[in-house]
């Protein structure tokens, strides 16, 4: 279509308006100087200042960053292993079953994931005394489990599109596993790994439901703290914090998309 129909523009505009106007309003109100969230009283950045001074929120943000970083990293390691096995191994008994199992956490209700992980941690503690109580570690493990499933799907997709013969060529030229994996396969799927990491990080950073099941004292993530604060009424501070989160998430999504596009572009030139 060389000429866009005005209706198409209208529909697109309407769709994006529904998505982004609420966020835009929240961003604008985060610069409100009034203490009342719904009353506009001029521009100010004071809530950002108060936000930085608020130790509880800053601490929660730091916890969320730590949880996000470690759970994404662990999730990427295991997710890559699963994705590689599912994409590369010839048919083995139970491959289809395993494939479904690996992706199930994606569609599983978070309440179910959270509850089952909580029960697992409790029984583990009773049985072997580890992990001792709920805290940072349990949140990281829980988030890594979910992140892993997403990473596995991303990696499997990338690998099944890529040419298996480059690994055979390496073998033919005298190389062996695991050397081939680290020098040939890993560099080729690196954009997918980074995209998977960013995805897992974002999921962990956003998560409220699973974290509230498996967190303990001293491991309240940012969404938990925000949620508990909002229950006592929304303050302009929260607007400022949400704006920062929007900015961070937007950067993450843009980076992941950019990486995906770049790897696709290099793949397309490979084929010509």
């Amino acid at each position: 279509m060389s000429k866009r129909h005005p209706l198409v523009l209208l529909m697109a505009g309407f769709g994006y308006a529904i998505l982004y106007i609420p966020i835009l309003i929240m961003i604008i109100y985060s610069f409100n100087s009034s203490k009342l969230v719904t009353v506009w009283a001029g521009w100010s950045t004071k809530w950002y200042g108060e936000l930085l001074a608020n130790g509880q929120l800053a601490e929660a943000a730091w916890i969320s960053l730590k949880v996000g970083f470690w759970s994404a990293t662990i999730g990427v390691v295991f997710g890559t292993m699963i994705g590689y096995a599912l994409a590369r191994f010839r048919r083995f008994r139970g491959k289809l079953f395993l494939n479904g199992m690996a992706t199930a956490p994606i569609v599983m209700p978070e309440v179910v994931m959270g509850l089952s992980l909580l029960l697992l941690f409790i029984s583990l503690e009773n049985l072997i005394g580890w992990p001792a109580g709920r805290g940072l570690l349990t949140v990281i493990i829980a988030h890594a489990t979910v992140g892993m499933a997403f990473v596995a799907v991303v990696i499997q997709g990338r690998l099944s599109e890529s040419d298996i013969s480059i690994e055979e060529a390496a073998m033919d030229l005298g190389a062996r596993q695991p050397y081939i994996f680290f020098t040939i396969t890993l560099p080729v799927i690196m954009p997918a790994i980074i995209a998977g990491w960013l995805l897992a990080f974002t999921l962990s950073f956003d998560d409220l439901v699973i974290a509230s099941f498996v967190s303990g004292p001293g491991s309240s993530t940012l969404p938990i703290v925000i949620f508990s604060k909002v229950r006592l009424g929304v303050t302009p501070e929260i607007n400022a914090l949400a704006t920062i989160i929007v900015a961070v998430v937007a950067i993450g999504v843009i980076a992941a998309n950019w990486l995906a596009l770049r790897s696709e572009a290099s793949r397309n030139t490979d084929d010509t």
């Binding site: 040419d163 013969s165 480059i166 055979e168 060529a169 390496a170 073998m171 033919d172 030229l173 005298g174 190389a175 062996r176 040939i184 560099p187 080729v188 290099s266 030139t269 490979d270 010509t272």
Partner: protein
């Protein structure tokens, strides 16, 4: 023929003995035996699913044989893993490492063999010169054209000085003009370095123009192994006769009286004579294959004799150097004729629908029993 591989003689360079590969219930390669001599440019020719690529991959060690064995210079390599075999392979997709530049791609195999840095650099340069890519060492694969990538893949596969180089449809991704040019380069390079090449292709013209010998595969079996000229002149069966070049097939029935046997054809309505002493059964159905360029055309049909038939001119396709003619015989069978000389005046007056006579010498005919 395939069973010639069993003959004794000078020890073959590469011996494939009774090799089979089964995938679940599918026989991809079925009891293939083949001897290849040092310095040959051997082409495995066949359609898709004929098993030619699987055979090549078994030589490379990328597939394990279900039964049979492979020897290189008398050494049994059937169970040697691919990284330890003295063969290298050039892949259909080229399989260049996208994250490494041309030099690193070529040096990859040398690095595995722990070549000293100085020798490795010299070898890479030597190979870049061989494939005429001297300037392109620092480029990444996606900065090269299809033809250049093809040459990098060749250089990389040759780097470790393999005893046998395997090429899996190496030219299929190139356009026609570049492909013909690359065929010549490939032959020149093979002559220069003297390495044994085994190439898989589905393109019979490519095999004819490149190979010292051709092995035709069909339905997992090796049907015939022969030099291109012999393969064209003496195809083993109808399938090969039609696969290698074009052919006219006349069906005939054998009748035997004592020591003399005659073949009568329904297609030509006459006797068929060939130079062939094969003993045939009475009533057996055989085929006589005649190449289009060996069929003669006469403008005044008269008389009936062996290897002659009357018909009508149904198609003329003038291509300049050669002319393709189709004659439909009185029996209804079409016959293709290729004429490469200039037409004389009588022939030039020919038009569609004219009555003509076709004939062929008995030396031009080949008897096929299957």
């Amino acid at each position: 023929m395939a069973d010639k591989a069993e003959e004794s003689g000078p020890k073959p360079f590469l011996r494939i003995h009774n090799i089979s590969k089964h995938f679940a219930d599918v026989r991809a390669v079925d009891e293939v035996s083949l001897d290849i001599q040092q310095g040959e440019f051997f082409c495995l020719l066949g359609g898709s699913g004929s098993g030619k690529s699987t055979l090549l991959r078994m030589i490379a060690g990328l597939e394990t044989a279900t039964s049979g064995h492979i020897e290189i210079e008398g050494q049994d390599v059937t169970n040697v893993p691919p990284w330890n075999r003295p063969v290298n392979m050039m892949f259909q997709s080229y399989a260049l490492f996208p994250h490494m530049n041309v030099e690193k791609n070529i040096a990859f195999g040398l690095k595995q063999d722990n070549w000293p840095k100085a020798e490795m650099d010299a070898r890479v340069q030597e190979l870049l010169d061989l494939v005429q890519l001297g300037e392109y060492g620092k480029r990444k694969p996606n900065q090269l054209s299809g033809g250049q990538r093809q040459r990098v893949a060749l250089a990389r596969a040759l780097a470790r000085k393999p005893k046998v180089l395997l090429l899996d449809e190496p030219l299929s991704a190139l356009d026609k003009k570049l492909r013909e040019e690359t065929q010549r380069q490939l032959v020149a390079i093979q002559k220069e370095i003297g390495t044994t090449f085994i190439m898989v292709t589905h393109d019979q013209e490519e095999a004819m123009s490149i190979a010292t010998r051709i092995g035709v595969m069909d339905e997992a079996r090796l049907i015939q192994v022969e030099a291109p000229r012999e393969m064209y002149e003496r195809p083993a069966n109808k399938m090969i006769a039609g696969f290698i070049g074009q052919v006219n097939l006349f069906e005939g029935k054998v009748s035997r009286k004592g020591k003399t046997q005659t073949i009568t054809s329904m297609d030509t309505g006459s006797l068929l004579e060939v130079v062939d002493n094969t003993k045939l059964e009475d009533g057996q159905v055989v085929w006589i294959a005649v190449r289009p360029e060996r069929v003669l055309l006469k403008t005044n049909p008269k008389g009936r004799a062996a290897n002659k038939a009357n018909g009508k001119l149904t198609d003329i396709m003038y291509l300049g150097g050669i002319t393709h003619i189709q004659v439909t015989l009185d029996s209804g069978s079409p016959v293709r004729i290729t004429i490469s000389e200039h037409w004389d005046e009588d022939e030039a007056k020919l038009k569609l629908g004219d009555a003509v006579q076709i004939s062929f010498e008995k030396r031009a005919a080949r008897l096929l029993v299957e």
